[in-house]
């Protein structure tokens, strides 16, 4: 039936069809039929490629919002402050040393010729004392950046928090120390621990 209808339409010439379209302002559903008719007239077939493209586009359209939903739908968890032992557990966990010092010293020694390693801030269990104070200061030469980065990542994994750090060579540190640089002064005056100290500080 549908085919017959199409054939009938094909017999009409292009102009009359167009006029009709403009006049009637056909509803959308019929629009697709019209397009097919025009194509047949011009002896054009919708190529399989374009068909595939359309299909793909449809799939993507369909998939898009679902994917976006998936990422936002993945459940996000947060600590429940109403938990029975919440505060007791918090105190217990936060009292634990963030990282083992001995293990850290060994790892720090592997990343280069480290002359001085100071921990402060998060390692002293005093968080956000001063935004200026780094959690980790490393002074040394020939520091392997790649090794340092992997060390930092594992350390952050162990501590459970991002670590603010500073790395400088011996010359820079001595210069900063001599000119009473605020960055160094605040660190050395606050609570800190020297893991490695080959500078006789």
């Amino acid at each position: 039936m549908a085919k017959r209808k199409n054939k009938k339409r094909i017999t009409k010439d292009k102009k009359s069809v167009k006029r009709k379209q403009r006049k009637n302002k056909m509803p959308r559903k019929k629009k697709s039929k019209r397009i097919k008719v025009v194509r047949k007239k011009n002896k054009m077939k919708p190529s399989t490629k374009s068909k595939r493209k359309n299909l793909k586009a449809k799939k993507v359209l369909h998939k898009g919002p679902v994917l976006a939903g998936e990422t936002s739908l993945r459940p996000r968890y947060v600590l429940n402050h109403d938990f029975e032992f919440f505060y007791e557990l918090r105190d217990l966990i936060l009292k634990s040393s963030p990282a083992e010092n001995d293990g850290m010293v060994q790892k720090i020694n592997k990343i280069g010729r480290v002359k001085l390693a100071i921990i402060s801030g998060v390692f002293m269990n005093k968080e956000n004392m001063d935004s200026l104070v780094p959690d980790l200061l490393i002074v040394g030469d020939d520091i392997d950046r790649r090794k340092f980065r992997s060390f930092l990542k594992s350390l952050e994994a162990e501590v459970g928090k991002e670590i603010r750090f500073a790395v400088m060579d011996k010359e820079e540190f001595k210069y900063r120390l001599a000119m009473f640089d605020r960055f160094i002064r605040v660190l050395l005056e606050g609570p800190h621990e020297k893991l490695i100290n080959k500078l006789g500080l």
Binding site: R74, P75, R76, Y77, V78, L79, N80, D82, F83, E84, F86, L89, R90, L92, I93, L94, S96, S97, P98, E100, V122, E127, K153, S154, E156, A157, E158, V159, G160, K161
Partner: protein, 63 residues
Amino acid sequence: MSKNSLELIFESKARLKILKFLFRNIESDFDAREMADRIQEDPRFVKGEIKKFVGIGLLKVKK
């Protein structure tokens, strides 16, 4: 006090890591994959632990 006493009490280093991570980022919320990535542990293990914590009410799903 031996250094890994807490690890022993909590049965595993990974579980302690999760707790440390949670309590040091007390106000933030995470999904399981993110957490596993940050503490560098097996995502499947982390998921399992999260399930347990949700079960006992220590964690809740953020809406």
